[in-house]
């Protein structure tokens, strides 16, 4: 209970983190209620293609006459969903690798950490691009690709945290007293690791959203799904930069991506500061 209270406190610990929290709450609101707020079905052809903003279409229409405002509202859900799914997969996997690696030690540690190093050193976006092209476009493939390229960082961070917990005197004492692996793991290590994993999760979500947008923009996402990235993909592919429709077709989804990523980063930092004061001290 006190943990969640600490989280809550962290969210509003400073003006900056409060700002991030409000922005994120706004985004989540759009993701949840956006579809019911949107004036049109985003798949319906509701106007002339390439209409500029008007009273009927606040952000104009896209290349086949679908309402861009509605597209963006619906796209929020897809973009956030992919971000959350990819980030949670990556965090669960990364945390598992980090904890197992630190507790098992020996060759398991060596092997897992070398693999982690390899993933860390491969350039992030090119790897994602290659994987996405290989797997083919679909919502879940995109999430999987993102998870594959971002799990390594949290694994590293969690491992070092987990190592330092394992070496604390009271944990050593528990081990000396015959505490089993599971006991040490559940009673001592995980409680110390979860707050860290949570802040890593927040940061991972923001980079997942950004990666999804990049992949979709490059035409490697699922162009059938309406996400912020695919809106940008169609804008670029159908000449928004040449025919002057970019102010209402490119800027709004771009802005939403920036705002969302910003809010996640602000919150992530705040959580780190409050939950992991030792990180701050270093």
């Amino acid at each position: 209970m006190s943990f969640w209270r600490a989280v809550l406190k962290a969210l509003f610990s400073s003006p900056i983190s409060t700002f991030g929290t409000v922005l994120l709450a706004f985004m989540i609101f759009i993701a949840v209620f956006g579809p019911s707020l949107s004036p049109y079905d985003p798949r319906e052809v509701s106007g002339r293609p390439f209409s500029p903003p008007s009273a009927e279409h606040w952000l104009g229409t896209n290349d086949i006459g679908q309402d861009i405002f509605s597209e963006i509202l619906w796209g929020t859900r897809v973009s956030l969903l992919i971000g959350l799914v990819a980030a949670s997969t990556a965090i669960v996997f990364g945390t598992a690798v980090g904890v197992v690696s630190s507790l098992a030690g020996g060759w398991v540690d060596v092997v897992l950490m070398r693999i982690t190093d390899i993933v860390l050193t491969i350039p992030f976006l090119p790897l994602a691009v290659v994987l996405a092209a290989f797997l083919g476009p679909s919502l879940w493939n995109t999430a999987a690709v993102i998870a594959v390229v971002i799990w390594a960082r949290p694994a590293r961070v969690v491992r070092s945290q987990s190592l330092s917990i394992r070496n604390l005197t009271y944990v050593e004492a528990a081990t000396a007293l015959g505490g089993r692996f599971n006991h040490i793991l559940i009673r001592h290590v995980l409680p110390g690791v979860v707050p860290l994993a949570l802040s890593q999760f927040i940061l991972a979500t923001s980079s997942s959203i950004l990666t999804e947008a990049s992949l979709s923009f490059l035409g490697l996402g699922d162009p059938i799904q309406k996400s912020w990235g695919t809106i940008l993909f169609y804008a670029q592919a159908r000449g928004a930069f040449l025919n002057g429709s970019w102010p209402w077709w490119v800027i709004p989804p771009g802005l939403l991506i920036s705002i969302t990523v910003l809010s996640f980063v602000l919150i992530g930092r705040a959580l780190e500061d409050v939950l992991m004061p030792r990180l701050k001290a270093r």
């Binding site: 798949r43 052809v45 293609p49 390439f50 290349d63 086949i64 006459g65 092209a133 083919g136 476009p137 679909s138 490059l218 035409g219 699922d222 162009p223 059938i224 169609y234 592919a237 159908r238 000449g239 930069f241 040449l242 025919n243 002057g244």
Partner: protein, 528 residues
């Protein structure tokens, strides 16, 4: 990343142009092309468009298609065809010369045919292999005897195969690495930099109409945005790249640019595996075809720059197009559902129809993930079909992956693994009316039959048309074929995109729009 590379590309193009222009006065055309075309010989050019068009600026054919796609004598003065359709006696124009000054004679023509027979070429060997024997009674006369009568021999053979010089090619054993490109056409290559540009200059030995330019420079610009920015800012005078619908208005409004527009023959179709489940039933296919709102596709996806497809495949502008088969019979969703019920289908709990055995009318619909026009069209088509009681699962796939499922290794004998798929047929398929390739059940004759369509009656019409020389009779057979297509719906033709091209009229305004193909063709680069 992309922006930066675009910027670099345009800068590179600009630098090249200023370099190229610095040393020259006189009439020059700067024409952006799409990609490198190798050493631009008949064996090394890369693309059907614009590669072949560039090739024909350097090489001549015996006949040349005019703007209505009718073959006109070119190197030939004319040809006499024997009554049985087997023998063509061709007289060459007098005093023809190659760009290097050597005389072009009948033996060069005979050599060309022999060369394409001996050295396989994807395009030119096909007509060459129809030839049984070539004789050259004198320097100006060629007598070609075919193995079987062929109504398309002038169009697809004499007007397509570039004549190559015997004195250059006689000793070439590996034509795919040929670097010397000498032809008899209006221009010759004077400079080539891989992946950068070609410089074509007027061929003083050309026999025919005067070339319209002293020099044509063709920077290679691969990116669409960079290409059209270069055109807008005046770095280039014309682009071989088609202007996509959303940019037409923009370019038309710009006073120093002009837009040439005409019917295009490149077709967007839905190919269907007609051997599979409910899709094997022509009545079901008819309902599907009838549910699609073709006008909406042309209006919203092509922004009006195109024509709707019909069951006979050939676009209305095509001379062999049957006027009765240019439109599908249409169904409203209610009519479609009623018709489905008449056929023994019933509505399932979720609105999707099922047959007597409980099989749902549920199909996977593949589309190219990198072609926004086809993606958007597929999106709208899927909606239309869903309203009529079908469940369509749209799936965007990377191009090669899609081809591998629809047309593995481009070889129809290897089968297929799809329900329905967006397939784009390039302009020559419609221009040459290759319905036989699309419909014949035999793997060789029907080498484009990716849906597995098979109908003995259709096969026999195709076989008869292939050996029919008489134009009226041939047209009759093609009309009958298209009538059959309307009954069977072997594929659904959605639309034909117009060809729209933009250029700077101040530099040159004498473009010839070749039906279905556009303004980039040999005739455009000659004075008239």
């Amino acid at each position: 990343m992309k922006k930066v590379s675009k910027l670099l590309l345009s800068l590179a193009a600009l630098a090249l142009l200023s370099l190229a222009l610095a040393s020259h006065s006189g009439k020059t055309l700067r024409m952006a092309i799409l990609q490198d075309e190798g050493t631009l010989t008949p064996y090394t050019y890369q693309t059907g468009y614009p590669g072949y068009e560039l090739l024909t600026m350097v090489y001549d054919t015996l006949y040349q298609l005019d703007e209505n796609l009718i073959p006109q004598p070119w190197l030939a003065q004319g040809a006499e065809t024997s009554a049985d359709g087997l023998t063509y006696t061709i007289t060459l124009k007098p005093d023809l010369k190659w760009a290097d000054g050597e005389a072009l004679t009948a033996s060069d023509v005979a050599f060309t045919i022999k060369y394409f027979q001996d050295n396989l070429h994807g395009r030119f060997s096909t007509p060459a292999n129809k030839v049984a024997a070539v004789e050259t009674p004198d320097e100006q006369t060629v007598v070609i005897t075919l193995k079987a009568p062929d109504a398309t021999f002038i169009q697809n053979g004499l007007a397509d195969v570039p004549i190559i010089p015997e004195h250059v090619w006689a000793d070439v054993t590996d034509p795919n690495s040929m670097v010397v490109s000498i032809g008899s056409g209006p221009y010759q290559i004077t400079e080539y930099r891989t992946d950068q540009f070609y410089r074509l200059t007027e061929n003083a030995n050309f026999w025919g109409p005067k070339p319209a330019f002293d020099e044509i420079i063709t920077p290679i610009i691969k990116d669409q945005t960079a290409t059209f920015q270069a055109l807008q800012t005046g770095e280039i005078d014309v682009a071989v790249r088609k202007v996509s619908p959303e940019l037409v208005e923009r370019f038309a409004a710009q006073s120093d640019l002009k837009v040439a527009q005409g019917p295009g023959f490149s077709a967007s179709t839905i190919q269907i595996d007609v051997t599979k489940g409910a899709l094997a039933n022509p009545e079901v296919r008819k309902i599907m075809a009838g549910l699609i709102d073709y006008e909406k596709l042309v209006e919203n996806v092509l922004l009006g720059f195109g024509v709707t497809g019909g069951p006979g495949f050939l676009p209305p502008a095509h001379p062999l197009s049957n006027p009765n088969t240019t439109e599908y019979s249409r169904y409203t969703p209610e009519e479609a559902k009623q018709r489905l019920e008449e056929l023994g289908f019933s509505q399932g709990a979720d609105g999707v129809y099922v047959d007597a055995d409980g099989n749902r009318l549920e199909f996977e619909y593949l589309t190219y993930s990198d072609r926004p026009i086809q993606l958007r069209a597929a999106e709208l088509v899927a909606q239309d079909l869903r309203e009529g009681g079908f469940n369509i699962e749209l799936r965007a796939m990377e191009r090669q992956a899609l081809v591998q499922r629809v047309w593995p290794d481009f070889d129809v004998s290897k089968g297929r693994n799809y329900d329905m798929s967006m397939v784009n047929w390039s302009a020559p398929v419609a221009a040459q009316a290759r319905l036989g390739s699309m419909l014949h059940s035999d793997f060789v004759t029907g080498n484009l039959n990716v849906g597995g369509y098979s109908n003995p009656k259709v096969d026999s019409i195709i076989e008869e048309a292939a050996v029919t020389i008489d134009a009226a009779k041939r047209q009759e057979l093609f009309f009958a074929l298209q009538q059959k297509m309307a009954e069977d719906i072997p594929l659904i033709t959605l639309f034909f995109e117009d060809g729209v091209y933009a250029y700077r009229p101040a530099v040159y305004d004498n473009w010839v729009f070749m039906a279905g193909q556009g303004i980039i063709n040999k005739l455009s680069f000659l004075e008239r």
